[in-house]
């Protein structure tokens, strides 16, 4: 499961959460599930072989994740958050 924060005024989503909505300066957010996305970019750490990817979620938020294996740009993924560890999996699960 992964959540982004939806501004209660302008409905835009953000992540990580911050004090003020950068779109409309409202202060109130609702935590909304936003786990489906596509790989927008990725890189591979040569030393650890970790795949660090940027996922564009359904609600248009760019989230930095670690993917358990090499992925492709444009590939659909599902984001899971375990405490602060944000992982994206290419075996997409549907949540809606």
């Amino acid at each position: 499961m992964f959540y982004t924060y939806q501004c209660q005024c302008c409905q835009q989503h953000i992540f990580p959460k911050r004090a003020i909505c950068p779109f409309c300066y409202n202060r109130h957010f609702l935590k909304k599930e936003d786990a489906n996305g596509i790989i927008q970019n990725y890189t591979i750490d040569q030393r650890s072989q970790a795949v660090i990817s940027v996922v564009q979620t359904t609600h248009n938020v760019l989230v930095v994740t670690q993917s358990p294996h090499v992925i492709a740009i444009g590939q659909p993924v599902y984001i899971q958050q375990n405490k602060n560890k944000i992982l994206s999996f290419s075996d997409q699960e549907t949540t809606s």
């Binding site: 990580p16 950068p22 970019n41 990725y42 890189t43 591979i44 750490d45 040569q46 030393r47 650890s48 970790a50 660090i52 940027v54 760019l62 930095v64 994740t65 670690q66 405490k83 602060n84 560890k85 944000i86 992982l87």
Partner: protein
């Protein structure tokens, strides 16, 4: 701005490793500046310090160590932009007559442990969201930016390599540069990989060192007796896009017009430039933002202005060849441009250099840096 004169600058040659602590580096940089300019310590009435590793000490502790009694005192730890931030505040202090002779000093010393600590505790976003997934190192974030930039601008690794190689050619003429050996394209392309797109020559090497500059009010006796440098323009814009962009545009894109108008100059008038170079991709991004070339023209600009050294870019060798001594990196380019404008650059001197440009860029938030500033200087 009209009240400020930059008198001179020093850099303690950067080294890769040192047992000397940050306090000693900062003190030594100030004392070297005092010796070079001839100002008395008791005549310094303003002090600004930038450092990540000086904690728990601050500017006032350095003042106490050196028996400086400042009426203006400032700390800044905003990474790659901290030197220009300090300068911006110092100029205001001179204009307001809160001080008449100000020393700005930046320096850092890291070992493996303290550098790891800096990376993992850089800010709360890094600590909470990047470190847990193995992305605390800026190398990976700039790898993502490079990949994006490469695709948008149809660039090859050789294009970034050209910038790195030309900077190394300058470094060969700088006896203080950390790396002076010539670098061929084969060396660059065959270098140890850091990521799938970056090699070691694309990543600024961590170093130990310090820099310092002296600026005074224009009426100060030392300004009357020395060849000085005028600030033609200084503009800054931080967090300009709330981290909602792609990271390949910086705040410089929004202040470009104000900067050149204030300076009454254009990019063509710049004789020497120090563009903050933690990674080659950001040098190109900043040059584009400042109007040195049109969007999507990076490839031809590299060919026409960087490969040919038509643009005197990072003539010290830049941080990519001299190393990044933490926040001192923010002052490295400023010191080099002052050195060039004062005709002190010896073998690498740009003949008749009149106008110089310095940028600052730094402070990674989530996907890229938030801070940007640019400065135009002219010999008085």
């Amino acid at each position: 701005m009209q009240n400020t004169r930059i008198i001179d600058a020093v850099e303690l040659p950067y080294v890769r490793h040192s047992e000397e602590n940050t306090a000693s580096l900062l003190q030594r940089a100030v004392l070297e500046l005092v010796q070079k300019t001839g100002i008395n310590l008791q005549d310094i009435d303003g002090l600004g310090v930038s450092s990540f590793s000086y904690a728990p000490d601050r500017a006032i502790d350095l003042a106490w160590q050196l028996s400086i009694k400042p009426s203006w005192l400032h700390d800044d730890s905003n990474g790659g932009v901290s030197a220009l931030n300090l300068l911006q505040h110092a100029m205001a202090a001179l204009a307001m007559k809160q001080a008449t002779a100000i020393v700005l000093v930046a320096g850092d010393r890291f070992d493996a442990d303290t550098f790891h600590k800096l990376l993992t505790e850089y800010n709360s976003t890094n600590r909470d969201y990047l470190y847990p997934i193995g992305a605390a190192s800026p190398n990976l974030l700039f790898s993502l930016l490079t990949k994006q930039h490469m695709e948008q601008n149809n660039l090859s690794p050789q294009d970034y390599g050209e910038l790195v190689i030309q900077q190394r050619r300058w470094a060969a003429k700088n006896p203080n540069a950390l790396y002076q050996n010539p670098l061929s394209m084969d060396d660059y392309l065959d270098a140890r990989a850091v990521s799938d797109v970056l090699g070691i020559y694309d990543c600024v090497p961590v170093a130990v060192g310090a820099n310092a500059i002296l600026l005074t009010h224009k009426d100060h006796p030392i300004a009357q007796q020395n060849q000085t440098i005028k600030v033609k323009a200084l503009q800054a814009l931080h967090n300009y896009d709330d981290q909602l962009g792609n990271g390949l545009k910086t705040g410089l894109s929004q202040i470009k017009d104000r900067l050149w108008q204030q300076a009454e100059l254009t990019p063509n008038d710049i004789d020497v430039s120090a563009i903050y170079d933690d990674y080659p991709v950001m040098v190109l991004a900043q040059l584009e933002d400042l109007g040195f070339f049109e969007p999507r023209q990076a490839k031809s600009f590299i060919e026409q202005s960087i490969r040919s050294q038509k643009l005197a870019l990072n003539t010290s060798g830049g941080q990519l060849s001299c190393g990044q001594a933490g926040t001192a990196g923010s002052m490295h380019g400023l010191v080099e441009v002052i050195t060039q404008l004062k005709g002190q650059a010896a073998e690498r001197q740009i003949p008749l250099a009149q106008n110089g440009l310095v940028t600052g860029y730094g402070m990674v938030q989530y996907r890229y840096c938030m801070c940007a500033a640019a400065l135009v200087l002219s010999i008085n």
